[in-house]
């Protein structure tokens, strides 16, 4: 084929917004085809996935409950990905955050006070941060591949949680179920409204998004992160240290993932148990890309993906579709985002015959 990609001198502003929207539309069209192939009524399936979750007040609250961890984790990951640091172990940092924060709740159960909740949040964020610093330090000191290390640590965190809730932290009065005690009221986040599960966590996520947006757009650190990602050589000449930046973005993203974990534990689940996470840490990768690695974008993308999360649960009950269908759509969405991004960065041109013909 005589088509070549040619780098555009400057990406249009409109294209930056259009590309994720186009990706969403393409994913919707593809899912219609898939539903039809699975013998489902495509429009009915679409309704279950995208409209049912937002059709009542309880559902809307659930969307925010699911969006909270996604937005928090994605905001941190966006910082990493922007500066070419591939932290894909957010799921592990999320679990460690829940373990550290939940540990405080289990430890203080029965004698805690109003100080428990702040302590839990701090423990969760610090735990996640420390866990994320393992791949970061190995990368900086020995150039060990951060992708593999952060991912391996997900499995380790998962097994650690499993051991804790079956062993030392098991609720002594829990009929031998593998779970901790239900957290005491002082170890749980207050609900925002009656008749739902939306809690203070969503407010915290919103504050974090605003703070991150300001840091990225208005501070030197934000400029540094953007510069290292876009022009590493220029950043080095400007005197920015690669190593320090890697440690910083890993620490921030780990802390945010850990915070998301403890908020999920203290706000939504209110105990620790083996199936604690539904894969927020991995889904947040897609949220970060759909949100154009931009904090406000992550907020919008997080809400959208949260809707499909709940839609997937609905589809499992109403349409008897396997739950993994949601992952298929998420993977497909990321494919389309990446493909559409090419249309921003490059222009497809017909190759002029005779010029630079290849052997």
């Amino acid at each position: 084929m005589a088509l070549v990609l040619e780098r555009r001198p400057e990406a249009g502003k409109w294209a930056l917004l259009l590309s994720p929207l186009l990706a969403v539309v393409l994913t919707l069209v593809s899912s219609l085809v898939i539903f039809w192939m699975l013998g489902q009524d495509p429009l009915r399936a679409l309704q279950v996935y995208f409209l049912l979750p937002v059709s009542d007040a309880w559902g809307l609250q659930e969307v925010m409950v699911k969006a909270t961890p996604l937005v928090l984790i994605a905001t941190g990951l966006a910082l990493c990905f922007r500066s070419n640091n591939w932290n894909i172990g957010a799921e592990g940092q999320f679990l460690i955050g829940a373990i550290c924060g939940g540990g405080v709740a289990v430890w203080t159960h029965g004698w805690g006070g109003p100080w428990v909740l702040p302590l839990m949040l701090a423990a969760g964020a610090l735990g996640g941060m420390a866990y994320a610093l393992i791949p970061a330090v190995l990368k900086v000191k020995l150039r060990v591949n951060e992708i593999l290390v952060s991912l391996m640590l997900v499995y380790v965190a998962d097994l650690l949680l499993d051991w804790l809730v079956r062993g030392p932290w098991r609720d002594p009065f829990g009929f031998n179920m593998p779970q901790t005690v239900t957290f005491a009221p002082e170890a749980t986040l207050p609900l925002l409204f009656q008749g739902g599960r939306m809690n203070l966590g969503s407010v915290i996520a919103l504050v974090v998004v605003v703070a991150a947006a300001v840091v990225m757009a208005r501070t030197l650190k934000g400029f540094e992160i953007r510069l290292v990602g876009q022009a590493p050589r220029a950043a080095r000449f400007a005197g920015f240290s690669d190593a320090r930046l890697t440690l910083t973005v890993f620490a921030v993203s780990g802390a945010l993932a850990g915070l998301a974990g403890v908020l999920e534990a203290a706000g939504t689940v209110r105990q620790l148990l083996p199936g604690f996470s539904v894969g927020y840490g991995f889904t947040a990768i897609i949220v970060a890309f759909l949100g154009r690695l931009n904090p406000v974008g992550c907020l919008i993308a997080g809400i959208f993906i949260a809707i499909t999360f709940i839609g997937g649960e609905n589809a499992q009950i109403v349409l008897r579709l396997p739950r993994d269908m949601t992952l298929v759509f998420q993977g497909m969405l990321l494919f389309y985002i990446l493909a559409c991004d090419t249309l921003i960065l490059y222009r497809v041109r017909r190759r002029v015959p005779g010029v630079g013909a290849q052997a």
């Binding site: 992952l327 990321l334 490059y346």
Partner: protein, 308 residues
Amino acid sequence: MTLATAILLTVITAATPLLIAAIGELVVERSGVLNLGVEGMMIMGAASGVAVAIITGSSTLGVLAAIGAGVALAAIFALLTLALAANQYASGLALTIFGVGLSGVVGAPFVGVQREGIGRITIPFLSDIPVIGPVLFRQDLFVYASVALVIGVSWFLWRTKSGLILRACGENPVSAHALGYRVLRIRLYAVLFGGACAGLAGAYLSLVLTPFWTSGMTAGRGWIALAIVVFASWLPFRAMLGAYLFGGLIILQLHAQTAGVAIPSQFLAALPYLLTIVALTLIMAARRGTGAGSVAPAGLGQPFTPDR
């Protein structure tokens, strides 16, 4: 059969899927492409392999379907990263998420369906040699295929002109392009080969090792295969060594679990993942000590667009 022989046999079966997937990815990375979607291609291979084998009753068709599924997923990855010059890291992650999800959908009707696994081949007389006989001459076809792959890939990469060109695409795509080689086409073949290997490795899991389907049955083996490639410094025979080391670790922790060692089973189960990190750290520290610099293909992970 002695205990040592029995353990060696299980080590080989645990190592074989890692080895097959790692060899495929090694070729991909040698061509300059980093495909993080090994886990996704592998688990799709496992799901489609067992699905087709159950439907048709033929293990051979199952294996072919697994290879086909791996190649199909690799083709999506190639379309994104080669034709559209998309980010290879993100595309690979998308492939893993997509593959893990799709395998759950494809495998859902077959959960818990038991079938006869693919058996071993016994080579007469030779297999009667004590200790090494059963280990070397009483294996399934996959094991022999994996060894043939290692030898074949090593020969191809260092003894043929095509192999030299493939490595050139990985080291310096711009120069390879300037010399008139079609970098993207060569990378496409490499990526598809990697997909076929990952699919085959998946088939080994669901048709030989545990002859039934469970959701998420690869359990990170695709990622360990990626780690083995780094550990092996992108050399096929070292990848073989790495795969057998990891296979040994997996078996060791399984034996410790069944023997009732007074360590919680979760800690033993976490060992392969922790030791992957330790192995990567040690190998990087050793490389730093020798001052050899980076041994990774120089163009690894960089998208290439022919400008003319």
